[in-house]
Amino acid sequence: MNPPGSLGDLEELEGEHLSASILRPSVHSDNPQERIQARRLRIAARLEARRREALGDYLDGKKESEEDQSKSYKQKEESRLKLAKLLLCGTELVTNIQVAADIRETRRRVEEEEIKRQRLEKLENEVKTSQDKFDEISAKWEEGKQKIIPQELWEMLNTQQVHCAGLIEDKNKLINELQQELKTKDDQYVKDLKKQSDNICLLLDRMEEQVKNVMKTFRQELHHIEKAFEVERQELLTSNKKKWERALQAHNTKELEYLMNRIKKVEDYEKQLNKQRIWDCEEYSLIKIKLEQDVQVLEQQLQQMKATYLLNQEKLEYNYQVLKKRDEESTVIKSQQKRKINRLHDILNNLRSKYAKQVKQFQEENQSLTSDYKHLVMQFKEVQKAMRHFALADDEKFQEIWLMNEEEVKDLIKRGFDVDRIIHTHHLGLPWTAPDFWFLKNVGPLSQQQQKSASQILEELLMQTEEEGAEETASDPASYLDLPKQISAKTTRKILMLLCDESGFLIESKLLSLLLPLEKSECYLLRLDAIFSALGIESEDDLYKLVNFFLKYRAHHHSPSSQERMSLTPALEPAEQPDFEGREEESLVEREPEEKEAPASPRLIHPNAVLKILEAFVMGLKKPRDSRPPVKLRKEVRDNSKDSEYWQALATVIPPATQNLWDALYTALEKYHLILTQRAKLLVENNALEQQNTELQLLLKQYLASKINSELQVPPTEVLRIPVKSKQT
């Protein structure tokens, strides 16, 4: 606690607070009135400053508007600000005491803390030193126990006592110090209490003063405001009264003016009215005369009109009579016509019904007929089906019978041939050659050779050419001979390869992708097949026509002299001139050796030309195709003209010369047979005799060997021995 400091604080605070105002001394004066005045002035100054700052730029603009606003408003604002300021300052003044007390308290606390710390330190030090001293003393007790001489002991006891007294004194001193401090604190506490009560008194004073001031100022301001209002009201009243009077005066003068004007106008109008009346009268009389004249004229006209009206009436009556009569007549005619119409209607209805009936009838008939027709068609179809079936069966049966017969015949022929061969070889000793006839090889019913399809030929061709490489021998013409052309397979192959390479565009891409993994030959085959189907080549002939065409083309190239002629003709109609083609073939045959000489000849056909050739070919091929009968009967009538010939030939397979030979042989053989039979008989007889001989020999031996002989004087054996022996030799 530091009362002087606190007082200083308070004063400082107030000084600080009041230093803001310029009229500082007067605020501190004892006279409350003066203080109020001073504060008011200060507030006004602050207000002014604040207003200047706050309004700033708006000052000019606002000033006018403020002037417009009533005095009372201004007064109100002013008083409000003044009062707010007063309240604020008052509360500040009052709370200053609290704030001062606060800061005093905080300071005191800080100091107290410091003092407390010091005191504790001091106490600790004291404790330490006293402990040391105590230790010393207690150590000396030990020493004393060892002392034997009473003087020394007494001395030591004395010193101990002195030491103890010193220690106690120290402690007492400390206690005294502390008590002193306590006392001063107590004093200070009392002072502080006093100070606080002073402060509270001051606070109360200030509060009271503040309340008084505030009340006073409030009252004053209220008074001011009321005054301002009153003044304003008065002003308003006077100004309004003035305005009112002025307005009244103006109104009066104006009314007077209006009155004068009105009187003048009334006079004017009266004059005008008079004039108008006179003028109207004159006009009226004039018009009256004129109208009367008009009336007379119109009456005359009326009379005339009446006369014409009568006349017209007569005429119209007559017309009316005439028209009435005509009307009657027309009604009679109308009724007649009506009757007629009715009758015709009846007839029409009858006819309609009849027509409907007939239509119905015909429809029924039509229906029955159509059903019949359908039925018949069905029947016809069934019949056809049966017929087809039977035809097929017939064919089969025919074939079977044919085959059976043929087999029988062949069997017979074979037997014949066998016999013939035996005869020739065994009996006649002649070499035998088997006759060779075409019909012998025939199997099945005779028919026209079937045309091979282009693809089949291709396959053959390719296979053949492959084999060809292995065989090395010249291409077997026999195998190729069933084709009438003489073009070498190699050439054909090459041409086809070329075609295949060049016209890949005719093949579908899908197919191409499928072909990739296949073998080369197979690949070619399929590709060509696809190309041919695209070009429309179906049969063997077409294929050969194509090959020929190529060759021809090349020929033209080779013989440029004839090139033009040739190139034109095949382009125009290559297939329609068989003669020409025949000639070509011949020429080709002639050239064949040449080709063989130059195996690379097909290469002479430039790949670029292939397309042109193909185009020409297709153009040519199209025409015959178009002209061909569109639908061929599938079932051709079998050609049986050659059948009898065939069978005849089969029957006469053994020629008559041979037959004659056989006859002669037969007779000779019969004779031979006879002789042989005779010989056989003789042989049998011979055998029998031999058998008899052997049997007899056996019996003899038996007899000779028996005992009886020995018993006999003369054995028969001896008798017989000699003959037997001879015989055996």
């Binding site: 803001a20 500040e92 200053n96 704030v99 606060d102 800061i103 905080t106 606390r109």
Partner: protein, 500 residues
């Protein structure tokens, strides 16, 4: 009407003849008595006969002839007499609610303020009667501080008086508990600024010292507990405010530290009391030497209190631990005002408060006057204020704050739009801090009060801050005016009606 008159009759047999004689005329008279009193010329002769019928008709006429001054007004009306009778017998036979309003008023005007409370408490609701009672009993009455109701004021002050002079162990607790059924509906706030400790008749010769105070004992008995408020508060169903000070007033030279002891038992029972009181809105416990542990006990019982809005623990001995508990309370209640002035809060406590404040959305006012939070705590609070959008009033006077805190606060000033009042008086803000605060003020449009007295700020900056505050105040006033213009029909009528 007839019943109301018939009922007093048996109670006053001496006047029974009035009603017996002419009930019809009396009823007429009672009915028209009010208006007729003002015009004495009207009364018909029949009426005059009524009161004086006992004396005789001729006598009446004679009086009129003699006395020119006579008028009917002098004669007391029957109703008047009845009312007087009722008033006289009110303690024994309270009749009030059965009367007509005007008669009730008359009765109330005549009733004595010394009537026993047991009779009047639940019967009389008239404010003027209770006003008389109050004025009669206490010379100074601030009815505003008691909710504007004289009856409430009477009961509250009565109860407070009883509590103030209650001596545990000596005074009969029934004195207070008997009053409970009478005052339970009228006591909204309890402000008790002293609790007397139990008296232990001193065997020591000190007894002569005790004579003048006579109410407090000072022996070193283990039981120094004060009156337990449990039963009383549990009975007060309307209690909203509890303002307690555990101390002894006017002890004079009998001072002893024991007189000012807020014991643990007191603390526990008080904690249980406030926990059980769900209507409590304001709780103040000041100047009672509440230390950390006691504060924690109290605050723990206040956690999640349904109604509590204001907590005032100023002028105690609460340190950082107690403040930490208070910080926790901030996040567990709807507290609007927290007053911890003049305690021993230091930086850690302020930091925990700041932490709770950063995300709080209910606290409007925080008072930390006369603590010692220093710059560390001040900075933490300033940081919290940057995110807080609720706090309007902050008192940090006398906290040893200096320039760093001022720097951060200036940032807060330019950001925060809710703060209206800051008090930084009695700190060491310094010249530079003042300048920085001035900078912060230049961006602020909401602050209305900013106290920088005795904080070592340059006069110039203080003056300029004052100017800025003036401007802010002016804009706030304008805003208020505009707002009231918009809702003028409501607000204009609002204040007028109660005044009339």
């Amino acid at each position: 009407m007839q019943e109301s008159l018939a009922t007093p009759a048996p109670s006053a047999p001496s006047r029974s003849f009035i009603s017996i004689q002419d009930p019809s005329s009396t009823t007429d008279q009672v009915l028209s008595s009010g208006p007729q009193l003002s015009k004495p010329s009207v009364p018909p002769p029949v009426k005059s006969r009524g009161p004086n019928s006992g004396a005789g008709a001729h006598r009446l006429r004679r009086i009129i002839a003699e006395d020119a001054e006579w008028s009917l007004a002098i004669v007391p009306l029957l109703t008047e007499l009845c009312i007087q009778n009722i008033v006289k017998n009110f303690p024994n036979n309270p009749i009030l609610t059965q009367l007509l309003p005007e008669h009730q008023q008359k009765v109330l005007n005549d009733l004595s303020p010394d009537l026993p409370l047991a009779v009047t408490a639940n019967l009389i609701h008239d404010e003027s009667y209770w006003r008389r009672c109050c004025m009669h009993r206490w010379p100074v009455c601030h009815v505003d501080s008691h909710g504007g109701s004289w009856k409430c004021m009477f009961f509250e002050r009565h109860l407070e008086n009883l509590l103030k002079h209650f001596i545990p162990g000596t005074t009969d607790p029934a004195v207070i508990l008997d009053l409970l059924p009478l005052c339970r509906n009228y006591v909204h706030r309890l402000r008790v600024d002293q609790f007397l400790p139990p008296v232990h008749l001193p065997p020591t010769p000190r007894s002569e010292d005790q004579s003048d105070s006579g109410s407090e004992g000072e022996t070193e008995e283990p039981t120094r507990d004060h009156y337990q408020l449990n039963d009383l508060v549990a009975g007060l169903s309307q209690l909203e405010e509890l303002d307690l000070v555990y101390r002894v007033k006017d002890c004079g030279m009998n001072f002893e530290w024991n007189l000012f002891l807020f014991t643990y038992r007191d603390c526990h029972s008080l904690a249980a009391t406030i926990k059980a009181c769900h209507t409590l809105k304001i709780f103040r416990l000041t100047r009672s030497k509440v230390d950390d542990d006691k504060a924690r006990i109290l605050i723990r019982s206040l956690l999640d209190h349904p109604a509590l809005e204001e907590l005032d623990l100023s002028h105690n001995l609460i340190g950082d631990r107690g403040v930490r508990a208070a910080a926790k309370l901030l996040s567990h209640s709807r507290l609007r005002v927290l007053n911890l002035a003049n305690n021993q809060v230091r930086a850690p406590g302020a930091q925990s408060l700041a932490h709770a404040l950063a995300h709080n959305t209910s606290l409007l006012s925080l008072n930390l006057r006369l603590n010692c939070i220093e710059d560390e705590g001040g900075q933490a609070l300033a940081h919290a204020l940057q995110t807080n959008k609720c706090l309007t009033t902050l008192h940090l006077g006398g906290n040893e704050l200096s320039e760093p805190t001022a720097t951060l606060l200036s940032l807060v000033l330019s950001v925060n739009t809710t703060l209206t009042s800051i008090n930084l008086s009695c700190n060491h803000i310094g010249l530079d801090g003042g300048k920085q605060l001035l900078e912060g003020m230049s961006d602020n449009r909401t602050l209305l009060e900013f106290d920088l007295r005795l904080s070592e700020v340059a006069q110039e900056s203080e003056y300029l801050i004052g100017q800025a505050l003036c401007a802010n105040r002016e804009t706030a006033r304008q805003r208020g005016l505009n707002a009231s213009h918009f809702m003028s029909p409501l607000t204009a009528q609002g204040p007028e009606n109660p005044s009339r």
